[in-house]
């Protein structure tokens, strides 16, 4: 957690597929006091619809809690997966951590 901005960072890397469903779900959890969440998936090299489903579930929880989420995705395969699933407008996706943090800082008013 970034103590100044109260931005929680969640990082996952590697291949996010069905075999890691439980791990993904467990990782996508809020920390107490977080005013915003950065999902740093910049080191994910492959993702499938399991990851999308868990992302949607977490984003819905965040929306209910009025907590902004920014997702960093770098892998072209992952970016196209989001498009193919028709979820391009469902997530706030950024190409790097800097842009994502700037967005979250503005949302959190820090």
């Amino acid at each position: 957690m970034n103590e100044d901005a109260m931005i929680q960072t969640i990082r996952l890397a590697g291949e996010l597929d069905l075999s890691r469903k439980r791990e993904i779900r467990d990782a996508f959890a809020f920390s107490n006091g977080a005013r915003a969440v950065l999902l740093d998936l910049s080191e994910v090299v492959y993702a499938d619809s399991t990851a999308l489903t868990e992302l949607l579930r977490f984003c819905a929880m965040a929306q209910g809690a009025n907590t902004p989420i920014a997702i960093v995705i770098a892998a072209p395969q992952f970016l196209r997966l989001v498009q193919y699933a028709g979820l391009a407008t469902a997530f706030k996706v950024f190409p790097d951590r800097g842009e994502a943090l700037q967005y979250l800082s503005e949302c959190a008013g820090t």
Partner: protein
């Protein structure tokens, strides 16, 4: 040029999905697929494999062991992919949040068919790398 073929059969379990997917990717690279086409075909296959692994045991008590099989065949500039299992097909509406797989496959494959009479069999067709402009 003759046909190139990859056939793999593994137990229909979640841990089988990634090794089959990686083997397919290596096969595609050997056929000169690259870039977005390589990623997309691997993605579509991964969704079908995940579907098979997740659903093949829906009738586990009747059929205690099931396999998932992948057949990739490249011939006359076209790649056909067939992924089959002995499980029962589960409609999207029966699994909230798990319906993206077929949507993704349909978005990627140039043709796609599903047979559900004996297990589930998903057939996909893709143009070969030599046909791309």
């Amino acid at each position: 040029m003759g046909a190139s073929e990859l056939r793999l059969c593994r137990p229909a379990q979640t841990r089988s999905v990634a090794p089959i997917r990686r083997a397919l990717r290596t096969f595609l690279e050997a056929l000169a697929f690259d870039g977005a086409a390589l990623d997309d075909i691997t993605t579509a296959a991964g969704e079908a494999l995940a579907n098979a692994a997740e659903h093949a045991y829906a009738q586990e008590t009747k059929h205690p062991r099931r396999d998932v099989e992948l057949l990739a065949r490249f011939e006359r500039g076209e790649l056909s992919l067939e992924i089959s299992d002995g499980g029962c097909f589960i409609e999207r509406s029966a699994l909230p949040g798990r319906g993206f797989g077929l949507r993704i496959i349909r978005a990627i494959a140039h043709q796609m068919q599903i047979e559900t009479s004996h297990g589930t069999r998903i057939r996909m067709l893709f143009p070969g790398p030599l046909l791309k402009s």
